[in-house]
Subunit: 351 residues, 2 copies
């Protein structure tokens, strides 16, 4: 039986993506060769990576001022790459601290220069999104995390800032309509809304690069990846191909606008049950609730065994909360069908 | 028809690895979930990565003084990670320049300190392996490239050095018996002899770490990866799984010793034909010929169309030489059966 997969990442992918990926591993494009045993410089793979880059730009409605890269190392490597490429020698950057990952980004930037944490919800266990702050021109860039997977918080209105704007969208990329042209650099690990682990999406406004005066390690230098059309070295072939399939699935199903509608319907269904059912409570501030990750807890710990048995019996998987928060976390990424949320809500009602 | 795949990388993998990888994408371990949509911290995946690490140690006959990591970013990121982790502030490193990739490694190390190129075959278009050099204790480490894919040269006898010994084995790892305990750090992109693109193997003697005085970006810090058992962040799940399958295939087929025998037989067959057939000549010095990549050229350029048509008609793929050398390159990685070499030799004889 296929499970109802609420995993926080790596996470559910469309069934047709899994099917086509498996086929490509056995024989790609009828070549008599596997996708994973051909040169990354072969015509067949160059078409894959170029189409993946073009599809990202179409979905985000971005002009040719932007370039799209598929790198490796996850958001964790981006935490270092962003300051290497954007934090000038002697300059400073503004960060918001909204969770473990935001905090990880801050730690890496501090190794290269001055970092001002201009807003933080750390004191309150990251249960809300700070809102009242401004970012002046004295900063080389502003960095925020759009969605905080662990706590289930999400920025609804991005601040207007006077510096460059950088955003880690690892856990909600492609989940809702945004004016992506407000951002100068966006990055995201693939393994939530875009594809399997192993690829990292970077969308960058080209004119912002090359201004720090730093001698950047080559793999960490966005400009070199731009110059080589995301093929500075052997790219993560399989992860990029499966990401392309996922992006095509998204485009064929109404793009980001339609995905947002589906995601809102799923989130509403689950939050309504959490608010209605006295056995459950949400983890974070209501107005900051994420459409992607619903963090919640039991109000009576004695119900834990019964609830755990019930959702496991219903074929649900990946519902345990992060080790730092405990409780439960239902991740409602693009590929999760509303039927899976209905099954979870039925289980919650049945307690 | 399945092709005879001589691709230089990404390259041929055992058919059973492709089959099992495709199955795992549809349903992993009978879980009702795909390998690529489960948490990397799930029991099922933790077993994969730990078994992959253990298998590497068994195959290389290494003690617990060593740790095995599966990272991202390819050898290109290792070019930077090695000096970040081993080149002391104010220290110096010794490098050999034996090709484009060695030269890339040198470039990255120079960004962090003093690099002495103690041996080079650059002046002779990298057609041989330099041999008469020593490495003294004044160096923090010595770096060499065991096999030079583009030119088809390979180090047969590693030098005795008085510093730490670091080796890029990207294109001949697991292809021949070596005393791996002579090395302090070995790295290799997976996409030649170990698995699909997207994972990078690092084997490191733990006691050498933490001595440079540098504030290393976290993802670039080997010690953090060691501390987190190669799960500092989400690893490249699919590439690691397919690498494990390839390592198991190798172990089940006699390990490195048996692979070396097969590789020698394949290389001998092809080099014999190159030397016998007046239409062909090898690219590099005979004594430095690689068992993995056979670079060769036509002696009469007028035969090019006929030869190209002949090998393509025989179902051979991936035989074109690198753009910097031209000519032909037959990569004979572990998974290539001798039958494919026989087909190529027959084509060469038939001209």
């Amino acid at each position: 039986m296929k499970k109802h997969n609420f995993s926080a990442g790596p996470s559910i992918l469309p069934q047709e993506v899994l099917q086509k990926s498996a086929e490509a591993i056995l024989d790609f494009n009828g070549m008599g060769l596997s996708l994973i045993e051909i040169s990354h410089r072969s015509k067949d793979f160059v078409e894959v990576i170029n189409e993946a880059r073009a599809t990202v730009k179409r979905l985000m409605n971005l002009s040719d001022e932007y370039d799209v890269l598929f790198l490796q190392g996850g958001a964790s490597l981006q935490f270092a790459m962003v300051p290497f490429n954007l934090l000038k020698l002697g300059g400073k950057a503004a960060y918001t601290d909204t969770g473990v990952w935001a905090s990880g980004a801050i730690k890496e930037a501090k190794k290269l220069g001055t970092v001002d944490i201009i807003a933080s919800s750390k004191e309150d266990n990251y249960t809300y999104i700070p809102k009242d702050y401004t970012v002046g021109t004295e900063y080389d860039y502003f960095h925020c995390t759009s969605n905080n997977t662990i706590y289930g918080t999400q920025i609804k209105d991005f601040p207007a800032v006077d510096s460059l704007m950088v955003c880690d969208m690892s856990s909600d990329i492609f989940s809702r309509e945004l004016d992506f042209s407000k951002f100068d650099l966006i990055y995201a690990g693939a393994q939530k809304n875009m594809g399997p682990a192993g690829a990292t999406l970077v969308v960058v406004k080209k004119e912002i690069l090359g201004k720090t005066g730093r001698d950047i390690p080559s793999y960490l230098n966005y400009q070199l990846h731009v110059d080589k059309e995301s093929m500075l070295n052997t790219p993560p072939v399989f992860s990029i191909y499966a990401s392309l399939l996922t992006l095509q699935w998204l485009e064929n199903n109404g793009g980001i606008a339609a995905a947002e509608k589906r995601n809102k319907a799923k989130a509403e269904l689950l939050y309504n049950e959490i608010d209605r059912n006295p056995l459950f409570k949400g983890f974070c501030n209501v107005e900051d609730r994420s459409l992607m990750n619903v963090s919640f807890q039991l109000t009576e710990e004695s119900m834990k065994e019964k609830f755990d048995n019930a959702w496991k019996s219903a074929g649900i998987s990946g519902l345990n909360g992060h080790r730092t928060t405990g409780g439960y976390r239902a991740s409602l990424y693009n590929a999760l069908p509303i039927e899976s949320v209905q099954v979870l809500v039925e289980v919650m009602k049945s307690l």
